[in-house]
Amino acid sequence: MAERLTKSAARNIFYGGSIFFLVVFTLLTIHSHYYIKNVSTDESTLTEAVARGKHVWERHSCINCHTLLGEGAYFAPELGNVWVRYGGRDNAEGARMGLKAWMRAQPTGVEGRRQMPQFNLTEQELDDLIDFLEWTSRIDTLGWPPNDAG
C-alpha cells in the first residue's frame, strides 16, 4: 500500500480534487442562483413590503424558536407554510386577521404551554411580516412539507 500511493501523489490528488469539486460546487450554485430568481421564486412579487417583512422576521430572531422551510430551532411550529395552514390561499383576508390576532394575543400565559413573547409589532410591521410569510409560502419547495401541519 505504502508503495502504491506516495505522499506526493496523495497531495496532488488532494489539491486537484479539491479544486475540481470547488469549481463544480460554484458552478452549480450559480445555476441554482438563477433557478431561484427565475423559476422557484416569484421575484416580481418580492415587494418592498416583503423585504421589510424579512427584516422584521430577522430583527426578532423568529428563527431561534420556529423553523422556516425546515431550518431553525425546533421549539415552535414551522412557518414556511403558516399562510397555507391559516387558509390564506382561499381566504387571504381571514388568514391575515387570524395571524395578526394570534401575534397580538401573545404571550398566552397558559401554564405548561410554550410562550411566545409579545414583540409589540406595529400594524405596518405585522402587515410586512405577513406579506413575507405569504411570499415564502409560494416558494417552489418541491412539495415540502408533506402536509399543512408543516
Binding site: K7, G17, L69, A73, Y74
Partner: protein
Amino acid sequence: MKYQTQKLAYPYFAAALILFLVQVLAGVLAGSIYVFPNFLSDTVPFHIIRMIHTNALLVWLLLGYFGASYFLIPEESEREIHSPTLAWLQLGIFVFAALAAVVSYLFGVHEGREFLEQPFWVKILMVISLLLFIYNVTMTVLKGRKTVVTIVLLMGLWGAVLFFMFAFYNPDNLALDKLYWWWVVHVWVEGVWELIMAAMLAFLLIKMTGVDREIVEKWLYVIVGFSLFSGLLGTGHHYYWIGTPEYWHWIGAVFSVLEVVPFFAMVVWAFYLVYRSGRDHPNKAAMLWSLGCPIMAFFGAGVLGLMHSFPSINYYTHGTQLTAAHGHLAFYGAYVMLNLAFFTYALPALRGLQPFNQILNMWSFWLMTGSMVFMTISLAFAGVIQTHLQRVLAMGFMEIQSQVDLFYWFRLGSGVFFLLGALLFIYATLGPVREQVAVQSGAK
C-alpha cells in the same frame, strides 16, 4: 515545550473553557424551558438563550483552534510565533466581541439569521480578529519549516475566514439567502473545519504515538481530500426543500454517503497509529480523548447525519428533533472532543507540569460522552415520534410536543450530567493539581 510563544495557547484555552461553560449553562436553561415552558419566559425568552447556546459554542471552538494553532505551529515550524503582541491583541478583540454579543443578546439586540445573529459591528470585530490571527500564523509558517500538518491547518483556517464572508451577504429573496447561508454554515462544519480537525488530530497522533511523520501525513492528505471532495457537494443535502433545483436530491444523497468516509478513515487512522506505535504515552487522558473524538464524530456526524440525508427520508424528517439529535452528537464528537483532547494534551506543558489529574479528567470524559449519547438517543426518539405524527399523520405541532415530553425530561437530565462533566473537566485541567499518581515504569 520548546518555544516560549507556545504559552500563548494558555489564555486562549482558559477563555475557551469559560465560554464552554456559558454554552452548557445556556443549554441546560434551554432544556429546562422545554419541560417548564413558563420558566424565564418574561425575562429571557427561549430564542435568546438558544442564541447564546449556539454562538458560545462556535466562539469557544474557534478560540480552541486559535490556541491550538499557537501551540502546535511553533513546534511544527521550529520557530517562535511571528508576533506575540498581535496574538494578545487578537485574543482581546475576540473575547470582547464574544462577551459584547452575549450582553447585546440579553438586551434583545441581534441580527436574525441562525448562528449569524451577531450584530454587524461584532461581526466586523470578529473579522479583524480573524485577520490578525491568519496574518500571524501564516507569517510564522512561511518563515519556518513547512509540514503537511501546518499546511492543512492553514488551509482550514483560511477557508474558515474566506467562507465567513458570505455572512455579510443577505439578499431579500429568502431562497437566495438560504442558498448562501449554507456556504458559511455547511462549508464550515462539514468542510474546512474538518481540515482543522484532521490537522490537530494528526499533530496529537504524531506526538503521542511517535509513528513516522511520513505515514501520518500521507494519510492526512487522503483524509482531508475525502473531506473536501464529499463535503463541498455534500452541501446538496441542505438544498432539498428551499427552492433549489431538484438535481441536488441525487447529488446530496451521493455525497452524503461519501461524507461518512473521512470520518471512518479518521477512526481507522487513529487506532492504526496507536496500535502500530506500541508506545504507552503518559498522558492517558489525552489519548482517551484523541481516540474518542473520531469514534463519536463518526457516529454523530457520519452515521446519524447519513441516516436522514437521503431525500426520500429527509422529506419526512427535515426540521424535526432528529436534526437536533444529530447536531448535538456531531458537534460534540467532532469538534468539542477534539478541542478537549488538545487541551488535555497541551495543558500539562503549558502549566509546566507532568500530566496531572488524569483520573478526574477521564471521569469527565465518560460523564460528558455518556450523557451526550443519552441526550442524542432521547432526542432521536422524540424526533422519530414527531416525524410520524406530524409528517405522516398531519397532527399539529404543539399537540405532538406534549406527547414527547418524557424525552425532553431525559434530555434535561442528561444535560445536567453533561454540565457536571464539563465542570469536572475544567476543574481537572485548570484547577489545583492533586497528588501525582505514580506513572508506571516504561511509560515515557
